[in-house]
């Protein structure tokens, strides 16, 4: 099913939590709503589910506005952050719930319900757990029961609210790729809410980055990551340094040094964003590069984290991967040169530019 959100807004009291949201999720697509807490992403998901109602705007399911329909009439599968499994029911009864409560005319026969529950538990790799109670399951298992319960009603769209938030890191990674495969197999339109950028980038076909009740960018993960539309998106998508620069005749100037060359030619102050792992450390005697001095070095296994001060005074953080380290680690006081591999420049006149130093 196709989901469309049109000019949707919502306030709680005098606080505006969503304004002018436009979103379209195609049939079978996996969409992630990514944003910090308070960005309105969960509220948007709940509005799509019918657990919350918008003040204005449309919620379209295959082109039909369902904005005024109650949750129980929308046929959506909702997976809650804390699973919300019914504790007094067995796994079987939890999964069967959505079928058992149907009116007599629509309810499948008992044997048919049992068969479907068996199939779903097989699908979520919990065959044989029918008689257990939720309290007897691990977090990951509960999560999968919640998913099976949501899938039992043959939902038109699957909505997941921070589904891995309560799991530990290893289980979370396993569940992620498993969910990805399952969603593909079922070809079920799905919307996931998360504040974890890795989760969003890895799972989704398209990512909507949200902040302060607005969608800042909605695109495929590679685009969102490589070409963030706004400084805020850059900030949110991982460890970016911000440097005040000047763009002059296509050259990006930091102090008096040319950091990069852009296609556009404006003359204005701008912000340069560069992620800590997109900076290469060069020896102090290298032919080019920004001069910097090491303030602090923190060894961290896969990469070493450096705090550096540039010649013109601003500080920069750099993560150097292990393979790029040769000989001894740098120590506080050492001088190096920096090469910005990938960066983005945002200016009032310039708009946004993304560069790869070549």
């Amino acid at each position: 099913m196709q989901v469309g959100i049109q000019s949707l807004s919502k306030s709680f009291g005098s606080t505006r939590v969503l304004s002018g949201i436009e979103l379209e999720v195609k049939e079978g697509e996996f969409c992630a709503l990514l944003g910090p807490s308070g960005s309105g992403k969960t509220t948007l998901l709940r509005i799509i589910a019918g657990l919350e109602f918008a003040d204005h705007g449309k919620v379209l399911f295959d082109g039909v506005d369902v904005a005024n329909r109650e949750a129980r009439d929308r046929q959506v599968g909702f997976v809650f952050q804390h699973y919300a499994l019914f504790r007094h029911m067995t796994v079987h009864d939890n999964v069967a719930f959505g079928l058992q409560i149907r009116s007599r005319a629509k309810r499948p026969a008992r044997a048919e319900i049992d068969r479907r529950v068996g199939e779903l538990l097989e699908l979520v790799q919990l065959a044989g757990f029918e008689g257990r109670f939720p309290d007897q399951l691990s977090g990951g298992q509960r999560q999968r029961v919640a998913l099976a319960r949501a899938l039992a009603i043959e939902p038109r769209v699957l909505l997941l609210d921070e589904p891995f938030g309560a799991l530990d890191a290893r289980v979370r990674r396993e569940m992620r790729s498993w969910l990805r495969d399952l969603q593909r197999k079922l070809n079920l339109t799905s919307i996931l809410v998360t504040h974890d950028q890795d989760e969003a980038l890895e799972l989704a076909d398209r990512v909507a980055v949200m902040e302060q009740g607005q969608v800042l960018q909605y695109d495929v993960p590679q685009q969102v990551y490589d070409r963030p539309a706004t400084p805020a998106v850059y900030d949110f998508l991982g460890g970016a340094n911000r440097l005040a620069v000047r763009v002059s005749q296509g050259r990006v100037l930091l102090g008096n040094e040319v950091v990069a060359v852009l296609a556009a030619a404006d003359d204005a102050a701008a912000q340069l964003h560069v992620r800590s792992h997109d900076i290469q450390l060069l020896p102090a005697d290298a032919a080019a590069g920004l001069q910097a001095q090491v303030l602090r070095a923190t060894w961290g296994g896969a990469s070493t984290h450096y705090d550096l001060r540039l010649a013109e005074g601003s500080t920069v953080e750099v993560d150097q991967p292990r393979w790029a380290q040769s000989g001894q680690l740098l120590a506080a006081g050492d001088t190096v040169r920096l090469r910005l591999e990938r960066f983005g420049v945002f200016g009032p006149v310039a708009g946004s530019h993304h560069g790869i130093t070549g």
Binding site: G50, G77, F86, H88, I101, F133, A152
Partner: protein
């Protein structure tokens, strides 16, 4: 387990001193004139009627409180309204009020010339000095037990459960009956058990409003007091043990029901 020996020792010593020894003394006293006398005491119509009244009105009062206590707890937990804290504090008053005061107040209210009694009496409803009066007093004293046991459970019962049920297609009624009710039932039963225990042993508030007519509105605890005044200690102890036995069987049954309801939960 560190401290197990000491803690267990204290537990057993205290339980023995405070609970078991007095109960054993009661039992020994009640059988002082032999088992036949014990049975004869209980088998008199007056004692049987008192026991029946005590237990049936306690059961009825606890049951009625279960319904209204649940509604009150629901309102206090789920809604925000001006004066909620005051209402919340009012719930504990029956706990705190000396029972005799409660009894006198209720009697004054429901007597033929009381605030409520004067409107009820013309309708042919007499509450003071009848079995209904006993029931009314017990409803009053037992209410906080239900509200206070259900409230915390209701507070922990996240709205997510209702939302999950709704998203799966449940109507409001199905949501209540299949999701909320089973989750609340163990707490309700605990409350019911406490309310029942309190109501069975209640004395002070009942004796004023009941009128204490033998065979009609005389409760078992009062009958014990009557026997004591007549220096019939063995007879009083016999009624006491009977109440103890019936209570024990009821509470044990309720506990087993609880355990069955909580199966599978940690």
């Amino acid at each position: 387990m560190p401290g197990f020996g000491l803690a267990m020792g204290v537990t057993l010593a205290w339980l023995g001193l405070i609970v078991l020894i007095p109960l054993a003394a009661l039992l020994a006293k009640s059988l002082g004139n032999g088992p036949a006398f014990w049975w004869q005491t209980l088998a008199t119509p007056r004692v049987a009627a008192a026991l029946e009244l005590s237990f049936f009105s306690a059961l009825a009062a606890a049951a009625v409180d279960m319904v209204f206590g649940l509604i009150i707890a629901w309102v206090l937990v789920r809604y925000r309204f001006p004066g909620r804290r005051i209402v919340d504090a009012l719930i504990d008053l029956p706990f705190a009020l000396p029972t005799a005061v409660a009894g006198i107040t209720l009697t004054a209210l429901y007597a033929g010339n009381g605030w409520l009694g004067r409107y009820l009496e013309p309708l042919g409803i007499q509450i003071a000095f009848t079995r209904v009066g006993v029931f009314v007093a017990l409803v009053f004293v037992a209410l906080p037990f239900i509200v206070r046991t259900v409230q915390p459970v209701l507070q922990d019962l996240d709205k997510e459960y209702e939302e999950a049920a709704a998203s799966l297609g449940a109507t409001r009624w199905q949501c209540f009956w299949r999701v909320l009710w089973p989750a609340l039932l163990p707490a309700l039963l605990t409350g019911f058990t406490l309310a029942l225990a309190r109501a069975v042993g209640e004395y002070g508030s009942v004796i004023f409003i009941a009128g204490n007519l033998p065979m009609v509105s005389e409760i078992a605890p009062l009958l014990i007091a009557v026997k004591l005044e007549q220096y019939d200690y063995v007879g009083a102890a016999a009624i006491g043990t009977a109440m103890l036995l019936i209570s024990f069987v009821l509470l044990l049954g309720l506990n087993l029901l609880q355990r069955w309801l909580r199966r599978g939960r940690m």
